[in-house]
Symmetry: C2
Amino acid sequence: MAVKPKLRLDAFLPYRLSVASNAVSDRIAETYRRRFGLKVAEWRLLAILAEHERLIPAALGAITRMDKISVSRAAAALIGRELVAREQHPGDGRSHYLALSAGGRALYDEIAPAALAAEAELFGQFTLEERRLLDTMLRRIEAAVTSDD
Amino acid sequence: MAVKPKLRLDAFLPYRLSVASNAVSDRIAETYRRRFGLKVAEWRLLAILAEHERLIPAALGAITRMDKISVSRAAAALIGRELVAREQHPGDGRSHYLALSAGGRALYDEIAPAALAAEAELFGQFTLEERRLLDTMLRRIEAAVTSDD
DNA sequence: TGGAACTGGTTACAATTGAAACTACCGAGG
DNA sequence: CCTCGGTAGTTTCAATTGTAACCAGTTCCA
């Protein structure tokens, strides 16, 4: 007869994942907020725009897995602080490009080391090998969720 | 000269962790909500109370890592549906015990297999060994965050 | 024993977030 | 062309969440 697997919340992987992730997010969000006045969503757009020259909001959403409302709001906040600029989209009048301003680039250059330092503090206990493994596992989990929905 | 580590959001572990965790949480939360009308916080209290006979709200908070307001609200919802009952606390008049009612137990018995099935669907691709490794890594991350704050 | 400081839990209000409707625009088919 | 279905992004309104104040009740110590 099959063993009936018993549920224990403490050993329930979705729970463990959530607790660990929230702990990390809270900690890092606090850094962004206190030191730079940015929310996580805003920081993500900044980071992606730093890697991409210019993008339309939909592309930002696809890359960061944020829904379009969140992108819209985060972008509005960044534009309000003149960290990001809007540019006309030549091909499609409904959309527009977003790109870092000089100030946005400067802020990013300041945050990036802080972000890497925070990561190092939290994940420094892991070997490079372990980090790679964790990265791979997290991507596999993501794939499992998004595959069939 | 040292290599200057460059930040790429896609490879940034806190980001990967957050994306994976949110994907899993969203998926599972949807199950609880649609099928049982429970929010994640309520489900957590239910699960812990199923393992513990009776607990005071503060203990529930400590175990589930929820703050006392969330515990209070989730408990109120469960009591409203008569899934959980309040019992007097003999020693301290400010507090009280919470315990599953018969209905709460019955609902839990129904949800537990669904939760395990959801876990199996998302993490079934991992070997037992890998799951143990993931669990350990997540606990190490948690410890790193909570150690020095 | 009688405050003063503290703790557990709840409540009230503000800020954040999410869902649905809306506006402006595009693009295909008649 | 010109309408109709669809898409990009924004706005509005409601629900959720977080923060701060609050009310017992308890503890400590004069």
